[in-house]
Point group: C2
Chain length 166, copies 2
């Protein structure tokens, strides 16, 4: 925008506005991120009936030995609030892809368990998802750009969520 004079609710001190180059970098990142997330989600949803959010839940469960996980751990893995995950698991339960099971060690806890039907649904969706990521992302970038993308992503991750950074 056209550098407005800051009135109230200003964050302590003078605002460090973005210069023209920073604006361009920010816009390029923002638009590409929004468009890519949106396209992958739409593509997956329309071709498999599974949104990217649901897909992430199924993947997380499928990667554990017993194909089950505590609700809170699953929420963490999926960058989801507990409420959101609880709603999502309820909907996946209606589809017969996940079921809930009380946790033996902790009476407060619930386990989300991937059913055979859920695993089959995931098997159907996985190629569609992976091809999407390849087509829209990896096929567009040189190996060097991929390395740079990963470097930037990991750097940001260390700041945004140190527990998830490698």
């Amino acid at each position: 925008m056209t550098s407005p004079v800051s009135p109230h609710s200003v964050p302590s001190g003078e605002t460090r506005w973005l210069d023209a180059d920073e604006q361009k970098a920010w816009r390029a990142w923002l638009y590409s991120a929004q468009l890519l997330l949106d396209r992958l989600d739409r593509d997956l949803t329309h071709r498999t009936g599974i949104s990217h959010a649901y897909y992430e839940i199924l993947v997380a469960l499928s990667e554990t030995p017993e194909r089950m996980m505590r609700m809170s751990e699953l929420a963490d893995r999926c960058l989801s609030s507990r409420s959101r995950l609880s709603h999502a698991v309820s909907r996946l339960e209606e589809r017969g892809w996940v079921r809930r099971q009380v946790c033996a060690e902790d009476g407060r806890g619930q386990l989300a368990v991937l059913t055979e039907e859920g695993f089959a649904a995931l098997e159907g969706a996985a190629p569609v998802h992976v091809e999407g990521v390849r087509r829209e992302l990896f096929d567009q970038l040189t190996p060097e750009q991929v390395a740079n993308m990963r470097d930037v992503g990991e750097t940001l991750l260390r700041h945004l969520d140190p527990t998830r950074a490698r």
Copy 2:
């Protein structure tokens, strides 16, 4: 996930699965993008009452000479569907920040017009938004990383939306 054998709904030919390095690059990008978008949106919403989506609408309007824009053009600029934008503008109208005005040249068209109150709200939110972007993004990266981020973003943009690429 653990490379499932692809069953049905396979996208023509053998699936080009991601190798370990590609997985890591993809996850780093995905998590950092989701966390960054989420954090900026929450921060802005809680500190100013303006979501990032609303903010983008206000910014777009403020950047035109007359502070008004056709609904469809505004939707394009904000990566929004027309339906979504129509709902959003209705809600901004209720806040008194935007008003609708029929378009003189095209009887089908509507103009979204930024009000003085809307501009004032934007002036209040802008420093909060910019400081967020700086703190969570630019302050974390070296100039070289920023250049790489921009390069990757612009490359993806040329593929995802050539009209928006530079």
